[in-house]
Subunit: 148 residues, 2 copies
DNA sequence: TATATATGGTCCGATATCGCACAAAATGGA
DNA sequence: TCCATTTTGTGCGATATCGGACCATATATA
């Protein structure tokens, strides 16, 4: 029988897993053909933390194998949404930079999601949602640092 | 520029996506070889809502294509964790039942996660985590009904 | 400096995910 | 009842994910 704290984690992670699947479906419904959630996630990450990250930086940030990141980036490059530049500080690695097309696509997808979110906001208490955001942010940061 | 409500949804879904990836890594580190998160998720779902669901029931519950569910269930059957029974009410479909081995495995994995969660609980304010759980549950239910 | 070890990225093969098409069975309407 | 439509599950091919191996480069150590 799990104790109280572990039960809370278990239940929270379980709910988060289901919500992630549902929200991913919402997102992918607005992505152009050939792009899936991981592609958008990378574009978004590069906006949030800034251009010029290396593939390994992002593989670690998303806790995915570096081979998966290679593959995702290859898709983004082939669509002209990001570009590689050599890393002046480290000959082994590359930097990933957004193209104008990449920035524009991210903005367009977010704009397209607007009506979806508007519709959802009409049926849910947004005060409660806004209230949990800081906790989720802290939890995300905590889990991110707690893995070693 | 997205309005306030859509921004909240966007940020919450973004945090949830990252937390899901991190928590999935925690889970899969405790699963025996050959099993990945979707396998465990199915076992867990069958405990939560009860045995005897059909593959389509679960594909809908997880918002996953039915072909993906077929594949996941095939893996669980091959490991002896669930079994199919014919559906007396509908000749097209099957029912999925947990085996003793399946129930035991789920319990063992949860037990193995205990220490991980204990360690995490030591560094995070569990009051705040417990407080967001009902909101996540309501959000999950809301999103689940809002898709049509 | 010379060498061993660690790290970044890619290739390759195995498994997972998913859209499409199909067959079997159920449902609904004439 | 008959037939069209819907629904459930699976086979198949294309893409995604991931572990292991590998090379190039950086870092640590003697």
């Amino acid at each position: 029988m799990p104790d109280q704290d572990t039960a809370v984690f278990f239940e929270v992670f379980n709910e988060i897993g289901i919500i992630e699947q549902l929200s991913r479906a919402l997102l992918e419904a607005r992505l152009p053909g050939g792009l899936i959630a991981p592609h958008f996630t990378v574009l978004n990450h590069l906006i949030r933390v800034g251009d010029g990250r290396t593939p390994m930086d992002m593989a670690r940030a998303f806790q995915v194998p570096k081979t998966s990141m290679t593959h995702t980036l290859k898709g983004l490059v082939s669509h002209g949404l990001v570009e590689f530049r050599s890393n002046p500080d480290d000959g082994r690695s590359k930097q990933v930079w957004l193209t104008d097309k990449g920035r524009a696509l991210r903005a367009a997808v977010i704009a397209d999601l607007g009506p979806d979110f508007e519709r959802l906001a009409a049926g849910f208490d947004m005060e409660r949602l806004a209230a949990i955001r800081p906790v989720l942010t802290d939890l995300r940061k905590y889990l991110d640092t707690a893995r070693d």
